[in-house]
């Protein structure tokens, strides 16, 4: 089956889950260092600003990394699972994977919470996929092939008249 939307720049499926776990964790942890470093610095009293920043980073950056990592890894896990089950790669994979991730992460909050969180995640992923599709269509439109000008019509004035 041809899957023209398949992303060939990424690793094949089962192993890419680990890559996504690590990538998302690293992104969250490094971003959390910056975020909580600044926040801890600003929220500390004068004289303890650097130690406050370091303490905030130590306490919170790994947690941010963990949240990101679990989200990204679970998403990749469900995405791979849906690819294997549906045998195709399209935007619905991502949306369904988002639905499942949202549900899984809220699994301890009761039915209502699970459903709300799943739908929210699916909507967010739907917006992502929609924006991605619009962007790729715009790129295709902007780089569309242009027809060659027909040479033998009398449009050009001869250079030496």
């Amino acid at each position: 089956m041809s899957t023209p939307e398949a992303d060939h720049s990424r690793d094949p499926c089962p192993i890419v889950i680990l890559n996504d776990f690590g990538g998302a964790f690293a992104m969250g942890a490094i971003g959390g260092c910056i975020w909580h470093g600044i926040k801890g610095f600003r929220n500390s009293p004068y004289g303890e600003r650097y130690s406050g920043a370091i303490n905030a980073v130590k306490a919170r950056a790994p947690v941010v990394g963990g949240n990101f990592g679990v989200w990204g890894g679970l998403f990749s896990f469900y995405d791979c699972g849906l690819r294997a089950v549906r045998k195709r790669e399209d935007a619905w994979n991502a949306i369904l994977a988002g639905f499942l991730v949202g549900g899984s992460l809220a699994i301890r909050g009761g039915k209502r919470h699970i459903f709300n969180s799943a739908v929210t995640c699916a909507c967010v992923l739907g917006v992502f996929e929609g924006v991605g599709m619009m962007f790729s269509r715009y790129m295709a439109w902007a780089n569309k092939p242009v027809a060659m000008p027909v040479p033998d019509e009398q449009q050009q004035t001869p250079l030496a008249a």
Binding site: G22, G23, R108
Partner: protein
């Protein structure tokens, strides 16, 4: 004409094939499409000799896809394309392992700290603990230990891989000393706010972990070489 779809019905000018047959004296015989197709050679390299179609499959040779060519950076377990792959796979593997083992430890702790059935003051019997309460106790412990171990391991993995890749970059090659030194430094950095003793302990532990990782890589490479030799 061939493009108008009409056949040339003038009759006075015979078709080219007729002329050829008359000149060469070949008798006209029944021909079908299969016969004609059999006479044509559809070898792609003959049809288009300049396109180089007689080669094997050629893969797109993109710069991003190239494996790392640094000396000594060959990883027998998983090929790597550079520091980004090292970081992502390293942190991801270590994080998932930490999450799993931490979760198991939390499961164990949860089983140990299950709520005990209490004596009902009215009936003087043991009141059974509801299943939801037991499940909640275990899940609380799992979600307490699992993410903590995973986060710790993941942060250590990120530090190790960033320092390791920096060493590789500056030295231009990778060897076990790079691994050991980055293990030592990442352990020291991880406990850098807890005093020299804690730093020393965690450095030694991380150096040991890095050494066992190097040993594992060597062991797997040795096994692979041995199996290749046997085949």
């Amino acid at each position: 004409m061939w493009f108008s779809g009409k056949s040339d019905e003038s009759g006075s000018t015979p078709q080219n094939g007729e002329i050829l047959r008359k000149e060469q004296g070949i008798p006209k015989k029944e021909e079908n499409v299969q016969d004609i197709l059999n006479t044509v050679d559809f070898e792609p390299e003959k049809l288009h000799p300049l396109a180089g179609l007689n080669k094997d499959i050629e893969y797109l040779d993109l710069d991003d896809e190239k494996l790392s060519t640094m000396e000594g950076s060959g990883n027998p377990i998983l090929a790597t394309r550079g520091w980004g792959d090292d970081l992502c796979y390293g942190a991801g593997t270590v994080y998932v392992l930490g999450l799993g083992f931490g979760g198991l430890r939390g499961f164990d702790e949860g089983l140990k700290s299950l709520p005990q059935p209490k004596v009902d003051p009215l009936t003087n019997k043991l009141r059974p603990v509801p299943f939801k309460l037991k499940l909640n106790t275990i899940l609380n412990q799992v979600t307490k230990f699992g993410p903590h171990a995973g986060n710790t391991a993941g942060v250590l993995g990120i530090m190790y891989n960033i320092i390791n890749s920096s060493f590789d970059h500056y030295r231009g090659k990778h060897d076990d000393w790079n691994s050991l030194a980055s293990g030592f430094l990442s352990g020291a950095l991880y406990k850098s706010t807890s005093g020299l003793k804690a730093m020393g302990i965690s450095s030694i532990l991380m150096t040991g972990v890095a050494a066992s990782w190097c040993g594992l890589k060597r062991f797997v490479a040795h096994k692979q070489a041995a199996s290749r030799f046997e085949n």
